[in-house]
């Protein structure tokens, strides 16, 4: 299992630059927002938590098709299926590798981007915490979407169409938590709900992803 994880991480860092790409995309979204809505500091302060969440979500989405596509093309996915590792474990490891190479850097970079959007001081901790809790769910849900579309040519657009509606609950609770934190309100309820969603998806969704992958490799 750890061999697979290390292999995926190495591939993400060394080959093809999926690693920095998500971060760069996140930065560009954050830079584009003030051009769209105007540079007024007080307005940016209000929308900062939401923009950061949507930016993180889109950056995550961008890298989803890489989870299985390369392995599908060179045939290593077939090897993984025949390996003694259960499919559910393979899928979970893939999601974990995706989170480590995409989600975690986004979480770590988010305070910096919060600075660009004039996020109030008390908002940083809830923002980072909400992203830390929420991005694993994004990776796991995204892995399910990637598994659904793995065999398809031009699956990228379809992948977004399938995955984005599934992201709605995570986005709602995550952004709500970041927003409440930025306004100095209590963040307990959205935090618990977000944690619940993340734990639930991590526990259950790999079974669906594995089932889907088995169908696709039949």
């Amino acid at each position: 299992m750890s061999a697979l994880l290390l292999r995926d991480l190495r591939l993400a860092v060394r080959a093809g630059g999926g690693f920095g790409l998500g971060l760069a995309f996140f930065l560009i979204v954050v830079v584009l927002v003030p051009f769209g809505v105007g540079p007024a500091q007080d307005l940016l302060q209000v929308i900062a938590p939401g923009v950061l969440w949507i930016g993180a979500l889109l950056a995550c989405l961008l890298s989803l098709d890489r989870i299985f596509a390369l392995d599908w093309e060179d045939g290593s996915l077939d090897l993984l299926v025949t390996a003694p590792l259960p499919m559910e474990a393979v899928v979970s490891i893939k999601a974990l590798a995706h989170w480590l190479s995409t989600g975690l850097p986004l979480v770590l970079a988010s305070p910096l981007f919060g600075l660009l959007l004039n996020l109030p001081v008390e908002g940083y901790k809830p923002l980072v915490l909400s992203l830390l809790l929420g991005t694993p769910a994004l990776s796991v849900i995204g892995t399910f979407g990637a598994a659904l579309t793995v065999g398809l040519k031009r699956g990228g657009l379809l992948l977004s169409l399938l995955v984005l509606p599934l992201y709605v609950p995570t986005l709602i609770f995550g952004a709500e938590m970041a927003r409440r934190g930025a306004e100095g309100l209590s963040t307990g309820t959205p935090l618990l709900l977000l944690a619940g969603i993340t734990c639930g998806t991590i526990a259950l969704l790999p079974f669906a992803s594995a089932a889907v992958l088995r169908v696709n490799l039949r």
Partner: protein, 245 residues
């Protein structure tokens, strides 16, 4: 009645034979119920003392909204049947139902907007019910797109039914998440089986007829579309066999 006899209709041939006989009746009844319900509702009910004649949009809005949710539930059930028992008719019925459900969602959203404009002063508000319907519509679109994208029929049936199961959980989650996110303008449910208080009887009876009409219309359309799908598949198989021979 022996419940096992129900599975007989999973045989495509038997399904076609039976629906041959049933379809005219269902479609006929749907037309009758819709005409009676809508004419009754539009022309023979009083205007609401506060909402005026706009209240009459209820005869399209409520049934279509009801169907939009129930069609997804029906797809969930048929997807489960496909996963468990692998009856092709079941998978095809789910596929046939999806576009109808999407159209029902759109009808509910549009009639709602037309109703909302005079009542709330706005076409659209990010109200929980409105928002969750928009999300439901996205689920329908994604489901249909996945069916279209995959060439192998059995693979497509498998993947879409799993998507339907996962999607149902997330649609439900979104429904409550959206509730948490914003309190809205839309009133609570005005029809239910376990409540004493419903819409006033003058509106209630034609509304029930309309709902029956929508349900029958949906059944007729699903049967028709499933038959078309079965025949199209049979035709493809025949063509393939001819090319081989």
């Amino acid at each position: 009645m022996n419940l096992n006899a129900l599975w007989e209709y999973a045989n495509p041939k038997k399904f076609i034979q039976t629906t041959d006989r049933v379809l005219p009746w269902v479609s006929g009844l749907a037309v009758v119920a819709l005409v009676v319900g809508l004419v009754w509702g539009f022309f023979f009910t009083p205007e609401d003392y506060r909402q005026g004649s706009t209240v009459k949009i209820i005869y399209l809005h409520v049934p279509s909204a009801l169907m939009a949710i129930n069609i997804w539930l029906m797809m969930l059930v048929t997807s489960l049947i496909w996963i468990v028992r692998r009856h092709h008719v079941s998978a095809l019925a789910a596929r046939a139902a999806a576009p109808i459900g999407a159209v029902m969602t759109v009808i509910a959203l549009i009639t709602g907007a037309i109703w909302g404009q005079p009542m709330w002063g706005t076409w659209w508000a990010w109200d929980p019910r409105l928002t969750s319907f928009l999300i439901l519509f996205l689920f329908y679109v994604g489901y249909m797109a996945l069916w279209e994208a995959i060439e192998n029929d059995d693979t497509a049936a498998d993947l879409t039914s799993i998507l339907c199961l996962v999607g149902s959980v997330f649609a439900l989650l979104s429904r409550y998440a959206v509730n948490f996110w914003n309190q809205g303008l839309h009133q609570g449910a005005s029809l239910s089986l376990d409540k004493e208080e419903n819409v006033a009887d003058v509106f209630y009876h034609p509304l029930l007829v309309c709902i029956a009409g929508f349900v029958l219309l949906f059944i007729a359309l699903v049967l028709l579309r499933t038959r078309t799908e079965i025949r199209a598949r049979r035709m493809r198989a025949l063509l393939a066999r001819e090319r081989m021979g």
